[in-house]
C-alpha cells in the first residue's frame, strides 16, 4: 500500500470533543492523516469542519478542558505526541514542528519590534541545538537573512519596525521567517494567505514553496481554497464535519473526485472558464452536539442508502485505473506514490 518507512507524522483515528454548557460537541470523529518526509500535504474543508482543531491537537495547544481527546494517536517520528510529558513539548515546537496561522497580526506581539521577536526565537532555536552562548550580532544577521529569504525588501529596516507598521503581506512574511528559522521538519500552515490580496498571495505561496522545497521541509497546508491546494501540494485530504472523507494525490483528486461531497465542493467553485455558478450543496454542516449517525454527510447526500444512516463508512482503498489516467507517469505503470481512498459506501464493491 504505502512505502514501508515510518511517516514523519501520522494521525490515527483521532477523536476530539469539547464540553460546553449544552453538552458535548463531538468535533473530530476519527481523523486519519499521514505526512511523509519532504511531502507537501493539503487539508481542505469548509469553516467549522475541524481543520484547525486537528493541527492544534498536533501542536498540543488545544485548551483542555473544554477539549478532550477521547481516542487516537498522533505519532511524530513514531513517538506519540499525546503521550509526551509537558516538558518535552517546548523542544518539539522549537526544533521540530512549527506553525503559521491565518492572521499574522494576532500571532505577532504588537509591543516588540520584529527584530526582538525574531531574535528571541532564533536564540531559543540555537540554544536548543546545543549552542551555549549566542552573540547578539549573530542573531541580528541571522534574522536579517531569514527575512531576506522570504523576499522581504530592506530587512534591516523591517527588523526595527513594529508589526502595525507593516502591511499584511509583510507580516505574513515575518511569520514565515519565524516558522522556518532553523531546520524544522514539519511546517503547519493554517490558512496562511486567506487574508491577503491575490497578487500578494501568489508571491507568498511561491516563496513558501521555494523555501520548503530547498530545505526538504514537510508541509501541512490547511485551507478552504481548493486552488491553493492544487498548485502547492502532492496530496490532499478532504475533511467534512470532523472526518477525513477522501484522500488522493492532488492531481488525481481534482481529475477524479469520488466522494459526493468532494464532487459537490468542486462544482461550487466559480471557474475562470465561465460556466456559471452551480446551485451549491443543499443543507449545512451538522450540529456537533448531536451529529448524524453513520456517515455525517448523509442528510445532505443525493446518493444516500440505508446503510449510510447506520454505520460510518471506512476509508476504502480504490484501485487506480492506470490506463484511464491522463498522467503519463501513471498510465505507463510508473510511480504512484499513494492510493486514492474514499469514505463512502458507494465504493464498497469497487474496493473489494
Amino acid at each position: 500500500m504505502m512505502n514501508g518507512s515510518t511517516p514523519l507524522l501520522e494521525i490515527r483515528d483521532l477523536h476530539v470533543r469539547f464540553k460546553i454548557y449544552e453538552g458535548e460537541l463531538k468535533v473530530l470523529n476519527g481523523v486519519d492523516l499521514r505526512i511523509d518526509e519532504g511531502e507537501k500535504v493539503g487539508l481542505v474543508g469548509e469553516t467549522g469542519c475541524g481543520k484547525t482543531t486537528t493541527i492544534k491537537s498536533v501542536l498540543r495547544v488545544l485548551p483542555m478542558p473544554p477539549a478532550r481527546i477521547i481516542k487516537g494517536e498522533i505519532l511524530y517520528k513514531g513517538k506519540d505526541i499525546l503521550k509526551m510529558r509537558r516538558a518535552e513539548i517546548p523542544s518539539l515546537r522549537r526544533g521540530e514542528i512549527s506553525a503559521i496561522f491565518q492572521d499574522p497580526l494576532t500571532s505577532l506581539n504588537p509591543v516588540f519590534t520584529i527584530g526582538q521577536q525574531l531574535g528571541d526565537i532564533i536564540k531559543f532555536s540555537l540554544k536548543n541545538q546545543g549552542m551555549k552562548r549566542v552573540k547578539r550580532e549573530n542573531i541580528r544577521l541571522n534574522a536579517a537573512s531569514l527575512l531576506k529569504e522570504t523576499g522581504m525588501p530592506d530587512p534591516e529596516r523591517i527588523l526595527k519596525s513594529y508589526p502595525v507598521q507593516l502591511s499584511g503581506g509583510m507580516r505574513q512574511r515575518v511569520c514565515i521567517s519565524e516558522a522556518l528559522r532553523v531546520n524544522v521538519n514539519l511546517l503547519m500552515a493554517d490558512e496562511p494567505t486567506t487574508n491577503l490580496d491575490v497578487t500578494i498571495q501568489d508571491q507568498i505561496l511561491r516563496r513558501l514553496d521555494d523555501l520548503v522545497e530547498k530545505r526538504g521541509t514537510s508541509i501541512l497546508l490547511i485551507t478552504h481554497s481548493l486552488g491553493v491546494v492544487r498548485n502547492l501540494t502532492h496530496r490532499v485530504y478532504i475533511m467534512y464535519a470532523g472526518n477525513i472523507i477522501e484522500t488522493a494525490e492532488t492531481r488525481e483528486l481534482f481529475k477524479n473526485p469520488l466522494h459526493p461531497y468532494t464532487q459537490g465542493l468542486l462544482k461550487t467553485v466559480p471557474r475562470l472558464t465561465g460556466e456559471g455558478v452551480s446551485k451549491g450543496i443543499p443543507g449545512r454542516i451538522p450540529n456537533y452536539l448531536d451529529p448524524p449517525r453513520g456517515c455525517r454527510y448523509h442528510p445532505r447526500c443525493d446518493h444516500r442508502m440505508p446503510i449510510c444512516k447506520k454505520d460510518r463508512p471506512p476509508l476504502y482503498v480504490m484501485e487506480l485505473d492506470r490506463k484511464a489516467s491522463s498522467d503519463p507517469a501513471i498510465s505507463s505503470g510508473g510511480r504512484i506514490k499513494e492510493d486514492h481512498r474514499v469514505a463512502c459506501y458507494l465504493y464498497r464493491s469497487r474496493a473489494e
Binding site: 502591511s167 491575490v198 465542493l265 466559480p270 465561465g274 455558478v277 446551485k279
Partner: protein, 329 residues
C-alpha cells in the same frame, strides 16, 4: 440597448488624514447600464468600496459628478430625497456586523418598511414574510430568530432581503460572499442572479475574486490605487486583457483545472507591494510593479482610451482606436 441608469464622471473622494491626503477614488468615470451587473474588482485599498459608499450616499464625493436616472446624486444621504434612498440600496460584506444582533429578523426587515411606507403593522408583516420567502428562508422559521443563531449564509440572505425591502432598482453588492464558504457562496450568487431577473435589478458588484466575477458580471472594471485601469465586457476582459495589472492579477489566481490554467496570461509574475494610498507614485501609479514600464510611465499618468469598441484601457502601451497616442492634458 438600454441606456445607462448610473453615470459617474471624474468622481473623486479624498480623505484628509494626519499622514496626508488619501485619494481613495481619483477621477473615476464609468456608467452602469439598466439591468446589467457591473463588476468592480481590485485589491484591498483600491477604492472599490469607497465608490459604492459614495453612490449609496454614505459620504458625499469630493469632486466630479454622479447622475442616477438623470438626477444628480453627488450628495450624502442626509441631502437625498426619500425616493432616491429607496431606489439605491446596498448589501455589505460582513452580515455579522451589518445586522443588529439584538433585533429579531422581523424587526430588522420591518425597519425599512416603517421608514419608507405608510402601511400599517399587519400589512408590513405580510411584506416581511414575502421578503423572507423571496430569499428562500421559510418565514415561520425565521421571523423570530436573532442573527447570532444563524449561519453566515442565512444572515447574508436577510441582509439581501433588507436591501430589497423598498423595491430598489439599483443595488450595490459590496463583497457579498467574501466572508462565506464556497458552497454557501454558490447559493447566494444563484439567489442574487434569480432576483435580478425577477425584479429587473441593476447590480454594482464588488469583489476581489476574479473567478466569481467571470461568472457574475456583464462588464468588469478593474481598479488600482483609486483609479480604473481597464473596463471591458466580461468575455473580452478575461480573454484579451490589455493592462499589465489586469494580466498580473489574472495570472495570480489559484485555479482548479487545466482548462482554466490555459486561460491565465503567461509570462507575467506578480511582484512588489501595493504602495500606500497616502503616497501614490507619480506618473502611472502602477509603474513600480509593472514589467513593461517605459520611461514615460514614470512621468505621465496615462488617460483612459477606447482601444477596442467598448474596451477601455488606461495605459501608455495602448493607443486609442484611431491609433493616436493620447497625451495627458
Amino acid at each position: 440597448m438600454k441606456g445607462p441608469i448610473l453615470t459617474v464622471e471624474n468622481l473623486k473622494k479624498y480623505f484628509f488624514t494626519k499622514q496626508g491626503t488619501v485619494k481613495a477614488v481619483d477621477r473615476v468615470s464609468f456608467s452602469v447600464i439598466q439591468g446589467e451587473t457591473f463588476g468592480l474588482v481590485g485589491e484591498s485599498g483600491s477604492g472599490k468600496t469607497t465608490i459604492a459608499h459614495t453612490i449609496v450616499g454614505i459620504y458625499a464625493p469630493s469632486g466630479g459628478a454622479a447622475l442616477f436616472k438623470g438626477k444628480n446624486i453627488g450628495v450624502d444621504s442626509s441631502r437625498r430625497s426619500i425616493d432616491l434612498k429607496k431606489d439605491i440600496r446596498i448589501v455589505f460584506q460582513d452580515p455579522g456586523s451589518s445586522l443588529n444582533p439584538r433585533w429579531s429578523i422581523k424587526q430588522i426587515l420591518d425597519l425599512p418598511l416603517r421608514v419608507h411606507s405608510a402601511n400599517a403593522g399587519p400589512e408590513r408583516l405580510e411584506r416581511v414574510r414575502e421578503l423572507l420567502s423571496m430569499v428562500e428562508l421559510p418565514p415561520e422559521e425565521y421571523l423570530y430568530k436573532y442573527p447570532p443563531s444563524m449561519g453566515g449564509g442565512e444572515k447574508q440572505m436577510v441582509a439581501i432581503a433588507r436591501a430589497l425591502a423598498t423595491n430598489p432598482s439599483f443595488v450595490a453588492l459590496d463583497e457579498p460572499t467574501s466572508a462565506l464558504d464556497v458552497s454557501v457562496q454558490a447559493k447566494i450568487i444563484n439567489l442574487l442572479m434569480g432576483l435580478q431577473e425577477k425584479l429587473h435589478l441593476t447590480y454594482l458588484f464588488i469583489t476581489h475574486d476574479l473567478s466569481l466575477m467571470r461568472n457574475m458580471a456583464t462588464r468588469v472594471a478593474i481598479m488600482y490605487l483609486g483609479k480604473i485601469c481597464e473596463v471591458a465586457p466580461t468575455v473580452a476582459f478575461f480573454q484579451r486583457p490589455f493592462h499589465p495589472y489586469t494580466r498580473m492579477l489574472l495570472s495570480s489566481i489559484q485555479v482548479i483545472s487545466d482548462q482554466e490554467e490555459e486561460l491565465k496570461p503567461k509570462k507575467i509574475i506578480s511582484r512588489g507591494e501595493i504602495p500606500s494610498p497616502v503616497n501614490v507614485p507619480p506618473g502611472c501609479s502602477f509603474h513600480l510593479r509593472c514589467p513593461e514600464r517605459m520611461d514615460i510611465c514614470r512621468r505621465v499618468d496615462p488617460v483612459m482610451v477606447e482601444h477596442e469598441t467598448g474596451h477601455f484601457v488606461r495605459c501608455h502601451l495602448y493607443p486609442d482606436r484611431s491609433g493616436r497616442q493620447p497625451t495627458d492634458a
